[in-house]
Symmetry: C2
Subunit: 460 residues, 2 copies
């Protein structure tokens, strides 16, 4: 009795599953056995997937056994493909097969791609042939391309159908059809002719003809080999919930949906920030320590080489430092301000590049403007620094040298902070890659050289 | 004849509007008059909005006059609220009113909030009273809260309706109803009872009762005062296209949709990266130079203060540096490696905090692990550095002091790189805020002190 439901049974709006912190408490207290299956089954699959990410293989299996299979699928869908592959490898085959069949094919393909070769063959033979064929096709695409993130299940209809016929056709499609918000209108060669949203369908009369209600203004069509970062840009630009993916013959072969895009944007943001500082682009706190060190060491070696150059610059002025040790006291002050001034420019330019805000012919302007900002701050900060040094040492000329050195090195720092990501990008590299290290290497060398050079010239 | 369309008229799939670079070329060549209205009208509104962002007020008006009003609305919707407000202030009132009425109410409210007070009152009086009331209500909410980003237009139905009745009710709603992917089932006090997706509606029979097909498992309900960053987390967690927003009495008052969330995630990523380096969180390359400098200067002053402390540490060892200038040559090498080692930890921890990956009771572990990574790299890099210095100076003991100083300072750097964002967050501040500056201040001071201290003790 629906009316009764409305008037008497208000479902509790509060979630009643575990929070992530609850689960961590069980882990810390080594009481995983005390986790209640009933509560775990109504815990957000995302929360459970996060929790599983911190467990070893045996504990993962133990936890997953507590959960009904259909919820297990939701949880696996939320995991990293790599983690999910580990879980499936350790699982009873029947259960693993069921999960792979239930997942969206793009998620299944991501996981299958991460399996050991023999597990891959074994599981692909065990799952139903149709799904296996789709998965085999999808793992061929580059994982970071539109093909790698698309789902190949699309609702297609024809122009001459009525709305009632189209609805009938969609209702016959797989129950599990993911994200069906747009229906794509194609000809018999799968060429895209138009788009009808679910909303259009609900709003239309049953007798309306698809060809009349469809939108033929087709924007944001994604070639299958487009890079995922660019796909994310297109999605943000067009504000659609899904974009159609076409092959080289312009045949509709799948869609990318905006929930995939949210994950990609997060990934790219993490990559930018971590790469900028010379850490691994996809490093997480849960990674094994040795693995994490292995990824960071090479950039520290690069840093060491550049630091030796900076040391070499200082060594050229050893004699002057011996005569006037205040030079050694002040030189890191000049270098530190240079590094941080450059870092401000670096950050803004890296994000502007990531958001597609730097355009053809603008690069020179951007560097000049950032250099000018460095100059202004060099004057401001330099005056304060000079005044303080004058007050402490009683020597106005030392303050003057610091002022001059700061103006020059901070102007340089602003310019080079903008220049590094732009040139990295032009060289086809990631604009963020270890750019902070390149920056401080360069601002250290220039900062030391300018300050010690001016000091040697004006003070001795 | 739909069949004819299918067989003969394949619409051109290529976009035919301008690309952003085309428009910039007109701007550079100062030939804005040569822009063709017809092509501009079919250019992506996002592209036009990006372009307008770079123009001065007069040029913006000139360009907007070339475009039909309905497209003008799409373009204004894509602009920053601040830019859009500038544009509307400069526009003929009739046109501005039309745009404010056509926009989604949440977008209108964002723009109205940015208007000068008198323009705000003038335009709110001119637009239709119902929209004005909605906008007035929305601008009361904190712009960074769920209330500030939600749209108050929701499709509501009751449990005892049939699917046919519900569809009829939705069809009667405003044509412009944004993002209607879920229908919310409420009681007569607007308490949320369940959710029906558009897909459910299409899949159901007309005689089905809403109470029977609705989902009562209600997850991801957003309180109106939730911070937008947390809303983004909820959206990513639940993988829905829209989440319902409720007031303090749990009455359904709006929805947040995932296209708003994509913008927020991009904003937050920009903010993290730029704030980390001490630039403004929402600075863009287009900002006036003076404004940008004004936002960066205070952090450079903080940097200067900390650099003076580092200089003070060196000053304590002036006597030793005078005796042994190799100390001055090597001290920035130790400090540089410390800064960058800490930066790697800082980056990974900031992103982990942003993604909600650091949990109660884990902070100490995270700092210890990052410190251990610093230790390992300190040993590796320290050995290389010591060997090179030994080779260059012929003095094994100088190399040994560098090795020891690097191990200590890089262990410290890894630990403090993790500690800074965690403690900033615990203090209720942004974990990224100028953390790179705090980090290098601290690693400089410790690096200089450890190296010079060891050097003074072991070498003299």
């Amino acid at each position: 009795m629906p009316q009764d439901i409305a008037s008497t049974e208000k479902p509790d709006i509060q979630p009643v599953g575990y929070e992530l912190d609850d689960l961590y408490t069980y882990l810390e207290d080594e009481r995983l056995d005390a986790i209640e299956p009933a509560r775990l089954s109504i815990t957000s699959p995302y929360v459970v997937s996060q929790f599983l990410g911190r467990l070893d293989v045996d504990d993962r299996r133990k936890i997953l056994r507590l959960i009904p299979l259909n919820i297990g699928t939701d949880i696996v869908a939320e995991m990293d493909a790599e983690d999910a592959a580990d879980v499936l490898e350790a699982m009873r085959e029947g259960r693993a097969v069921q999960i792979l069949e239930d997942l969206d094919p793009d998620d299944s393909a991501d996981i299958v791609a991460e399996l050991e070769d023999d597990d891959q063959q074994r599981l692909l033979k065990a799952i139903d042939p149709e799904t296996a064929a789709t998965v085999r096709e999808l793992i061929e695409y580059d994982q970071d391309s539109a093909g790698g993130i698309m789902t190949p299940e699309v609702a297609k209809v024809f122009t001459d159908m009525t709305v009632t016929e189209a609805v009938g056709m969609i209702q016959k499609l797989d129950e599990e059809l993911e994200h069906i918000y747009y229906i794509y209108v194609v000809d018999h060669d799968d060429q895209l002719l138009g788009i009808v949203s679910m909303r259009d369908l609900v709003m239309a009369k049953g007798s309306d003809v698809i060809g009349d209600i469809m939108t033929t203004e087709l924007r944001g069509i994604i070639p299958v080999d487009m890079d995922q970062e660019e796909v994310a840009h297109e999605m943000a630009e067009h504000n659609f919930h899904a974009l159609p993916v076409v092959d080289e013959n312009k045949r509709l072969i799948g869609i990318v949906t905006d929930d995939d895009i949210i994950d990609i944007i997060q990934e790219e943001a993490t990559e930018d920030l971590q790469k900028m500082m010379g850490a691994g682009g996809d490093e997480t706190l849960g990674d094994p320590i040795v693995e994490s060190v292995r990824r960071r060491t090479p950039w520290l070696v690069v840093n060491l080489v550049s630091a030796f150059f900076a040391g070499g610059v200082i060594a050229m002025f050893e004699h002057q430092i011996h005569q006037l040790t205040i030079l050694a006291v002040c030189m890191p002050i000049v270098a530190s301000l240079g590094g941080n001034t450059g870092g401000q420019s670096l950050a803004v330019v890296i994000r502007s590049l990531a958001l597609g805000d730097v355009h053809r012919g603008e690069s020179r302007d951007v560097c000049l403007r950032e250099g000018f900002k460095g100059l202004l701050n060099g004057v401001l900060i330099g005056i304060i620094a000079a005044a303080v040094i004058w007050a402490f040492t009683g020597e106005a000329i030392v303050g003057g040298v610091v002022l001059l050195a700061m103006i020059l090195s901070m102007t340089y720092a602003g310019t080079v902070g903008a220049f590094i990501p732009i040139i990295l990008k032009r060289m086809g590299l990631d604009p963020a890659q270890s750019s902070q290290m390149f920056l401080t290497a360069s601002t250290d060398i220039v900062g030391f050289a300018v300050f010690l050079g001016l000091g040697a010239w004006l003070l001795l």
